[in-house]
């Protein structure tokens, strides 16, 4: 149906160029004002629920009891407590992204090599588990890896571990890694499209072993995709709040937990300090993205 539409449109363009453009122009110009009006509700909602809160946070991060200035930021960077939150957030985000990506790389590369039935099934399952996050995920991990979790007991009986504390930094890294895997697979699986099978064969013909192939061809080709995925995983982990909140009832010292505590906790409410901490969190994400862009430019430059 659309093919016949296209044909008639083309016909009109070639046979009646002047008439067609003239008749198209007037309703289009009139329509433009109407069209702008249609954008209004969207703009209104977007400003109210996205732009305005962010602006409030940005402006109020510069405001404190002493007036305008950088007092909030100075307070955060002078406090061991807040610095620890930043450090923990970065450490957990970094290690969980690295581990999650390593598993996702191995997984999605192997996914490409197995028969389509198994592949489709595991891909579909992985996509579904990407929605298994937040509070339900934390709950599932308590059952599995809590102090009396089934897996903890099993591993203890096998003598593989002495004990496992899910509520520690290591525990959180394991938990975060789990929710990074489906996202990593989702993002990396298409990236392997860039690696053509015949390159591998050509390299082998020229005498390259598996290691040489990955060192000189595979990894350089995949680098932009790997960097991009890593950045998204980092941002994903930095902003995560629900999982750790449920797991430790807000007792583990992470940036999102501190931010939420400063606006909705029972002890010390300080929305301006929360704003400053929030700006640091957003700033860290922006910095990561910036570094990513720079690295991407460099790797493109090299490949040319």
């Amino acid at each position: 149906m659309s093919a016949s539409f296209e044909q008639s449109a083309k016909l009109a363009d070639t046979t009646l160029p002047k008439a067609a453009t003239r008749s198209r122009l007037t309703p289009r110009l009139k329509g433009k004002w109407l069209a702008l009006l249609c954008l209004l509700p969207f703009a209104l909602f977007f400003i109210v629920f996205q732009i305005a809160p962010l602006l409030w946070v940005a402006v109020n991060s510069l405001h404190s009891a002493e007036g305008w200035g950088l007092a909030n930021f100075a307070k955060i960077f002078a406090s061991k407590f807040y610095l620890q939150a930043i450090k923990h957030s970065l450490q957990i985000a970094f290690w969980s992204s690295l581990l999650g990506m390593a598993i996702a790389i191995l997984g999605s590369y192997s996914l490409r090599q197995v028969d389509s039935k198994l592949r489709d099934f595991v891909m579909a399952f992985s996509n579904m588990t990407s929605n298994f996050a937040g509070v339900p995920l934390a709950f599932a991990f308590i059952i599995l890896l809590g102090f009396n979790g089934a897996l903890t007991l099993l591993l203890k009986q096998m003598g593989l571990i002495e004990s496992f504390n899910l509520y520690s930094k290591t525990g959180l890294i394991v938990l975060y890694t789990y929710f990074q895997i489906p996202l990593g697979v989702l993002l990396l699986y298409p990236a392997f499209d860039a690696l053509r099978q015949d390159w591998r064969e050509s390299a082998a013909l020229l005498g390259a072993g598996t290691w040489d192939f990955w060192r000189h061809i595979g990894l350089p080709v995949l680098t932009p995709a790997l960097l991009g995925t890593f950045v998204i995983l980092l941002a994903n982990a930095l902003g995560a709040y629900a999982t750790v909140y449920y797991l430790t009832t807000g007792n583990f010292n992470l940036m999102p937990i501190r931010i939420a505590g400063l606006v909705s906790g029972d002890i010390s409410l300080d929305p301006n300090l929360a704003s400053a901490l929030a700006m640091i969190l957003v700033g860290l994400m922006a910095l990561i993205t910036l570094v990513h862009q720079l690295l991407l430019k460099r790797s493109q430059h090299v490949s040319r």
């Binding site: 198209r24 433009k32 969207f42 629920f49 962010l54 588990t129 339900p136 931010i259 606006v263 993205t289």
Partner: protein, 265 residues
């Protein structure tokens, strides 16, 4: 590569894929087993199996209430998102294609700004004053719209580019349709599938949203996730049944989206 060389490689890849599946399955399988067991503590396997936790859950008035409220908020937010995003997409792609570049930057905001950060501003701005909405489900509708926005915008944009919007509109105009008629009767039916897929997937992640629901509204309009959080001190078996019931719904919606997507290809 010789055949003898290939067999171990194939076996290796199968093993890796099954291992990946196992890792992803483990927390779910554990929760499922826990929800079906009579009691399970300090042993590797449960003592016995039962359905009583599901019966208890699905006859609990507070759970049913939270479940209904979750559905209501999600469907409401998706309806709002469709009403706001469809005209936007149409106008951007038909009248102002240059705006698409700006939109692609704007829709990064909900990704780049974690809900915890937005909540700080939202709590202060709408806690009182003319737009006082914290503590009511209305604020969730708006917030969930921003969460669904990047996703729906990208999915439907891909669909719009595939149907060649300007040609389709010009053809409809030539045949005497007004712009509104053309948009509703010609373009919209062509977008149905992309729209449905993005709605199903958006639902499955909005249904699991916790941060906004807990920080902005809390117990005053309890959604499923907030209910699960507030029940943290009740029986673990009961909570497992809750988690599995929740995930079952998500499963249905992601599965439906996957089916629709496959039909399209």
């Amino acid at each position: 590569m010789s055949l003898a060389n290939r067999a171990p490689a194939a076996l290796y890849h199968r093993m890796v894929v099954w291992l990946l599946f196992l890792i992803l399955l483990l927390p779910l399988a554990g929760t499922l087993l826990y929800s079906l067991s009579t009691s399970w503590s300090a042993s590797i396997l449960p003592d016995g199996l039962t359905f009583k936790w599901y019966l208890a859950l699905w006859s609990d008035a507070r759970f049913l209430n939270a479940f209904g409220q979750s559905l209501l908020v999600c469907f409401g937010a998706l309806l709002l998102a469709v009403l706001l995003i469809l005209p936007l997409l149409f106008v951007v792609h038909y009248h102002f294609p240059k705006l698409d570049a700006l939109m692609n930057i704007l829709i990064l905001l909900p990704f780049a700004v974690p809900p915890v950060v937005s909540s700080v501003g939202l709590l202060q701005l709408y806690g009182s004053g003319p737009l006082a909405m914290t503590g009511t489900p209305w604020i969730l509708l708006g917030c969930y719209f921003t969460i669904a926005l990047p996703f729906m915008y990208r999915a439907i944009t891909n669909n719009l580019q595939a149907i060649n919007l300007p040609d389709l509109m010009d053809a409809a105009h030539l045949l005497g349709a007004s712009s509104l008629q053309a948009a509703l009767l010609v373009v919209l039916p062509n977008l149905r599938k992309g729209l449905m897929v993005s709605l199903f997937l958006s639902f499955s992640f909005l249904f699991g949203e916790f941060v906004f629901a807990n920080m902005l509204v809390g117990t005053r309009y309890e959604t499923l996730q907030v209910y699960l959080n507030n029940m943290r001190n009740s029986s673990g078996h009961f909570n497992s049944a809750l988690v599995i019931s929740y995930f079952f719904f998500v499963l249905i919606f992601t599965w439906a989206a996957g089916r629709l997507n496959k039909d399209k290809a």
